[in-house]
């Protein structure tokens, strides 16, 4: 039985005629409310993951649970299908178990707070916020074990429960959950921040209703959804064909030596509707890289990509959902069966965006971006300092943004919305470490007319013994280039001991012991290049050499030769470009450049990466 919503006033909302101005005013007011939600969380949360890096996602939905403003689309209808209890005025829901909300959140670390907004006995809206908790207990600090065999190893799971019941805060419940965490103070503060943010948004919804009337508010949210439906219907009918197109990409490994894992999506249009079918995606992993992909979330990703690629002026909300049919095979990497482990879902989440980009752009290469949105690299470092105090760092890294139709991909920037890096002086002040290097790694961005963004070479020097964990991908299969652009460089992790000896570390690993003075070189992937590198202006290449973003040797990938002083050697450049042209097969360059291919990567994996190639998954 689905959730029961108890409304003391059962009168239906009256449909009101709306003028376009009211519509825009309410839309803007809701957007402002969303900005306020972010501001509240950033100012009061404590874990660097949320307060410095912005790993949290606000949402305001209509009374039926459809997102009006937010980022990842609404899961509320899914939650209501699964939740077994009643919901009434004064309640607030808290949850973290992906299996209890059809994957609305996708690992236990994300805590979600959901607040129904009642007015005069009727539900008028929902506000919600979820954010990544640094630690929720479980077998490893950070609660994202790379080798978990089931979700029971991944920290505390919170089923949908009422954290506030008819206005009464359930302190005992919260105390029990906090007791599971290695960092209870951060969790408590972050949870407070999420709650405060939902309340701020609810207050704004109330003010809008007060000003315009509840009926007008509800009619407006309907109209905003309808407006988006119309705009997307137009976009879908004009830019998606009826003939199926497919695209596939890979996760490198699962943290237990298996890989790569294929994700495949096929898209076609049937009348006014688009079908997105993940048939052909590999079965679920025995480890924790599974990504329980919520269909609505994927609809939203699809919608946002359509909008960004084809017409950035359209606002996005859930209105277009009926136009998109998402099919995900049961038991696959994207819809694993309970109790499959899920904590490392970030890699597949990132890869989904490469797939969308490739899928939507392949018929219109002028709109196509290269690959690079490939993961969300994490570093965990924890232990007891010399005063006996526990410290625990969870940090998100960034790689190179892909080469784009617009231009070069920025170096070391975030592909996730609103994320930022942590100031290194902050890290050094509050954690026992020193950041010896924080720079864009030259040549790691794929060559192209528009260069892929360089990855970051960040060197941590640990000043206390402890353990680290690493989560990254794109170390085995490089991020692809497009329209003649070259793939970006792969990720690498190197541990350098004080005596200078170096050891290559896996890109997914837990419980690596480090000593005082050890250095970790945490190197992320570059973005793929866009367009033929031989068409890049040699002056730009020469300038980037002076800027330390491309090396003299790397300039040759663009067919550019520099003199000793760094000037362009015109004759040698022409000769080299002619030579590269001559060596190419006849005809245009392929739209996608995936690099040397799986067979080559397997054969040369150890030599090129320092790590054995993963075993093909069963």
């Amino acid at each position: 039985m689905p959730a029961t919503i108890i409304e003391t006033n059962t009168a239906p909302f009256k449909k009101r005629d709306l003028d376009p101005v009211t519509l825009d005013i309410i839309e803007n007011a809701l957007r402002n409310a969303r900005i306020e939600m972010d501001a509240t969380v950033f100012r009061t949360a404590m874990s660097p993951g949320i307060r410095e890096q912005g790993d949290c996602f606000p949402l305001i939905a209509d009374h039926k649970g459809r997102m009006i403003v937010g980022q990842f689309g609404s899961f509320i209808t899914g939650f209501l299908n699964v939740y077994q209890g009643s919901i009434e005025d004064g309640d607030m829901i808290w949850l973290s178990d992906p299996y209890s909300c059809e994957g609305a959140i996708s690992h236990n670390n994300d805590w979600l707070v959901l607040l129904p907004v009642f007015r005069k006995g009727r539900l008028v809206a929902w506000t919600s916020h979820f954010g990544h908790q640094t630690d929720i207990g479980g077998k490893v600090p950070g609660s994202i074990p790379t080798d978990a065999a089931s979700i029971f190893e991944e920290g505390v799971r919170i089923p949908p429960v009422k954290i506030v019941k008819q206005g009464v805060f359930q302190k005992d419940l919260v105390d029990v959950i906090m007791h599971q965490s290695r960092m209870p103070e951060w969790c408590r503060s972050d949870l407070n921040a999420l709650i405060a943010s939902c309340r701020v948004a609810a207050r704004r919804v109330n003010e809008i209703c007060e000003r315009f009337g509840d009926d007008v508010f509800v009619s407006t949210t309907d109209a905003l959804l309808e407006r988006n439906y119309r705009a997307m219907a137009h976009l879908i009918s004009t830019s998606i064909g009826e003939a199926p197109v497919s695209f596939e990409d890979y996760l490198c490994d699962d943290g237990r030596g298996n890989g790569p894992f294929k994700i495949k999506c096929t898209m076609w249009r049937e009348g006014g509707r688009v079908v997105l079918d993940f048939a052909g995606t590999d079965p679920q992993s025995q480890s924790s890289i599974n990504f329980y992909l919520n269909e609505n979330m994927f609809r939203m990703f699809f919608g946002i990509y359509m909008i960004m690629v084809f017409d950035p002026q359209i606002l996005f909300n859930d209105g277009f959902y009926p136009l998109v049919d998402v099919r995900i095979p049961e038991g696959s990497l994207l819809k694993p069966k309970f109790p499959a482990a899920l904590s490392q879902r970030t890699h597949a989440l990132g890869r989904i965006f490469n797939i969308l980009g490739g899928l939507l752009g392949q018929k219109t290469p002028e709109f196509l971006n290269a690959a690079g949105f490939s993961s969300s690299p994490h570093l965990m470092y924890s232990g007891f300092d010399r005063a006996g105090k526990w410290f625990q760092l969870f940090q998100i890294g960034f790689g190179g943004i892909p080469g784009r139709p617009l231009g070069d991909g920025p170096d070391g920037h975030s592909l996730w919305p609103n994320f930022t890096n942590v100031p290194n002086e902050f890290l050094e002040r509050y954690f026992p470490l020193r950041i010896e290097r924080f720079e864009a790694l030259a040549n790691s961005g794929g060559a192209g007319k528009h260069r892929g963004g360089n990855g970051i070479h960040m060197t941590y020097r640990f000043l206390e013994p402890g353990i680290i964990a690493i989560h990254d991908d794109r170390w085995f299969i490089p991020p692809w280039g497009v329209n003649g652009g070259v793939p970006g460089a792969r990720a690498r992790k190197i541990l350098e001991k004080p005596d200078g000896t170096k050891k290559i570390l896996p890109n997914k690993a837990d419980n690596i012991e480090v000593e005082n003075g050890d250095q970790l070189h945490f190197i992320t992937w570059g973005g793929g290049g866009w367009g033929d590198p031989l068409e890049r202006d040699p002056a730009t290449v020469a300038l980037e050499v002076r800027r330390g973003l491309v090396t003299r040797d790397g300039a040759k990938d663009y067919g550019v030769v520099l003199t000793k002083t760094g000037a362009i050697d015109e004759a040698a450049t022409k000769a080299l470009r002619d030579k590269i042209h001559a060596a190419r097969p006849a005809g245009p360059l392929p739209v996608f450049n995936y690099g040397p291919g799986l067979a080559h990567l397997r054969e040369h994996g150890l030599a090129e990466t320092g790590l054995p190639a993963p075993r093909a998954p069963r």
Binding site: I25, N28, R43, T44, Q313, L406, H413, L415, R546, R547
Partner: protein, 684 residues
């Protein structure tokens, strides 16, 4: 007899105000601005206002100046080529920035990344390292540094040099030494170290702020030097001071060294002027609305003081320098209305018709409907502006707005009203950011609209905000010069403290305060303010340990001397945190930064009373008029502001015209003229 002369340079006019320091009497004037070299209008205007009023240049004791020279240098990219010296391993600090990409999910696809403010090819690394506790990890290798600086000099041409080393906010020894060495190699260019500009944690923000300082330094220095030279030639012997972004004043010399403090000098003048009017009119709590042609600045004034923020934003650039908390939205008289094909929504701005061709009603070939056109169509802006010298073309305005009406399928008047409602909503959003979002109830505030277009929209916004009365100051178009002339010289000194409340003591804080007070007082003495005329105040930024943002709190020196300072600070923080965020935590408090501020003496300026009337404004009534409000036409009247008397009462709907602005009074509202000529609109 000595005078203060305030000069504010705007896009169209340069406004001047002289105040007799003994009596508070004022003289006002305005001359056309000279954008190619703003100092020309400044000097010409100063000569004119003085000679017109029989004042000799040597009688000007203080020359106070708000300028957008630094702002425009950034916006127009007319900045110096800055060399940058960073710690080894950090060459790409400005390139990677905070890794932030605006625009939401997939926003990266369409984001044009700005270039670093200091070119990477001019960025080199210093062989050295300080630890976070201020100890030296690796001594500065001076020989290698010299080689690298020399190589930079040989290969690149730079106009300024910035030095920003990791953890220099704790220990500046390496920065100071590196600057000494750099001065030998680059004897002719300005060199700035980060610990002098912003001794605060966060390497990217500190680097950017220091580089921004270097980038505008040559332009500002040239301007200030030139101005000081011209004023000297004219015979002025008084001090030249510039208005800072935080509303304080700083000397010409300091302005040349730290021009990053001047980036928001322009908007600060308006807010400072509003503060003065607010205090003299008896409204200590005010929301300001400074609406011009392309944008609107809003700010919140509480207890007679504007709120401060710890950063300053100009275009893409956000630096860590204090500024008045002014929010800007791209909504002004010239904002253009349009209806996108796909969504059929009505949008207004942020694109502006600018001065050329301008709104359609200017008759200079503009065909796109703007906010000004909608105001003309609705009858809010009479066709004769600026005393008859400038006529608005109502038919052109109608033609332009009709296009919007057709696209939306609604009537002309509904379209015009829609444009006004949307632009009001945009400004409403900005006003909410400075009020509701900061935990303030706008109903506790009066609203002060100024700038050319503010008084047209003030009444409607007060209705949205519930902020009454609306206070329209005299000459709302030239309020900035009042700000320049009435603010005080300001010096502040800040230290990163970063200690939990249990790991320090009142005595320790008190010792530090004495040291800091001595420094700011000395600095202010350098600015020619004797200690006897100084006022010192104290601010401490506090947070729960682990939070990223601090809450700035004012505190009293004496409390720390008598041992109650920390306890009072803790209580004040809890109150403020609860007000802002609805909750408190059982977590220790951390004192993050300590700031001591020294102010010079305030100007002796009184507002001038106007003649008293009998309450009936008929002497000022120009003619009958029609205004479109709430879906129908209303009989209204037009009044001339200069003929209004104190005590006059004007019922809405009505319009009050003056040379530089037009005030709209809606039906159901009423205007009263106070003793100083302010128009106070209230609900009826």
């Amino acid at each position: 007899m000595t005078y203060r002369l305030g000069v504010d340079v705007g896009g169209t006019f340069t406004d001047l105000l002289i105040i007799d320091e003994a009596t508070g009497r004022t003289f006002r004037d305005k001359v056309p601005s000279t954008p190619q070299d703003p100092s020309i209008a400044v000097i010409e205007g100063a000569r004119k206002i003085c000679s017109d009023n029989g004042i000799k240049p040597e009688q000007i004791g203080l020359f106070l100046h708000g300028t957008t020279v630094a702002t425009n240098a950034v916006l127009e990219g007319k900045i110096a080529r800055v060399g940058l010296l960073v710690t080894e391993g950090y060459r790409h600090t400005l390139q990677i920035a905070r890794s932030f990409v605006p625009g939401g999910l997939a926003g990266w696809i369409i984001w044009p990344k700005p270039e670093p403010l200091a070119p990477l090819e001019c960025t080199i690394e210093a062989p050295e390292r300080m630890a976070a506790d201020g100890t030296t990890v690796r001594a500065l290798d001076e020989a290698v540094l010299r080689e690298r600086l020399q190589a930079l000099k040989d290969s690149e041409s730079i106009e300024a040099l910035t030095i920003c080393l990791i953890n220099a906010y704790v220990n500046d020894a390496h920065e100071i030494r590196a600057a000494d060495i750099a001065r030998e190699i680059f004897p002719d260019i300005p060199i700035t170290i980060s610990s002098a500009i912003l001794p605060e944690m966060q390497e990217y923000e500190r680097t950017l702020t220091t580089v921004a300082n270097s980038a505008v330094r040559p332009t500002v220095a040239r301007y200030v030097n030139n101005l000081a030279g011209e004023l000297g030639k004219w015979g002025m012997t008084g001090n030249l001071s510039l208005l800072r972004s935080d509303g304080g004043l700083q000397s010409a010399k300091k302005s040349q060294e730290a021009p990053v403090n001047l980036l928001m000098s322009g908007p600060a003048g308006g807010v400072a002027g509003a503060v003065w009017v607010a205090n003299t009119a008896g409204f200590p709590n005010i929301l300001t609305l400074d609406m011009g042609g392309t944008s609107t600045d809003v700010a919140l004034i509480e207890n007679g003081a504007a709120r401060l923020r710890r950063d300053t934003s100009v275009g893409h650039l956000t630096v860590r320098a204090s500024s008045l908390d002014v929010k800007t939205v791209g909504a002004g008289g010239g904002s253009m209305a349009y209806v996108p094909e796909l969504t059929k929504a009505l949008r207004v701005g942020p694109q502006s018709a600018g001065a050329m061709p301008g709104p359609a009603c200017y008759g200079r070939g503009g065909a796109t409907a703007t906010v000004t056109d909608a105001n003309v169509v609705l009858g809010y802006l009479p066709e004769n502006l600026l005393g008859g010298s400038f006529k608005l073309d109502r038919e052109e305005a109608k033609r332009a707005v009709q296009k919007i009406a057709d696209a939306l399928g609604i009537s002309l008047m509904d379209a015009a009203a829609g444009i006004i409602n949307i632009v009001n909503e945009n400004m409403f959003g900005a006003l909410r950011l400075v009020s509701v979002q900061q935990g303030y109830d706008p109903r506790d505030f009066a609203l002060m609209p100024f700038g050319g277009a503010g008084p047209l929209h003030g009444n409607a916004l007060a209705r949205l905000m519930g902020s009454w009365p609306v206070v329209v100051p005299p000459s709302p178009g030239v309020l900035c010069a009042y700000g320049d002339a009435t603010t005080r010289i300001r010096v502040e000194h800040q230290r990163s403290f970063n200690r939990s409340i249990t790991k320090t003591s009142d005595a320790e804080v008190s010792r530090l305060l004495n040291e800091m007070s001595d420094k700011v007082s000395g600095d202010l003495e350098q600015e020619s303010v004797p200690r006897s005329e100084q006022t010192l105040s104290l601010e401490i930024d506090v947070r729960y340990i682990g939070q990223a943002f601090e809450v700035p709190l004012t505190a009293q020196f004496a409390d720390f001397q008598n041992g109650t300072g920390l306890e009072k600070l803790r209580a004040a923080f809890n109150t403020e945190h609860e007000r802002l965020f609805t909750f408190n935590l059982d977590v220790e408090h951390e004192l993050v930064n300590i700031r001591v501020i020294a102010l010079g003496k305030p100007a002796h300026v009184k507002p001038e009373p106007i003649a008293k009337g009998d309450g009936n404004p008929k002497a000022a009534r120009l003619r009958d008029h029609q205004m479109w409000i709430n879906g129908r036409s209303h009989d209204a009247a037009i009044y001339q502001r200069s003929l209004l008397r104190a005590g006059d009462i004007i019922p809405g709907p009505a319009i009050v015209c003056e040379m530089d602005s037009t005030t709209v009074i809606l039906d159901g509202n009423v205007a009263r003229v106070d003793a100083f000529g302010n128009i106070l609109l209230s609900e009826q």
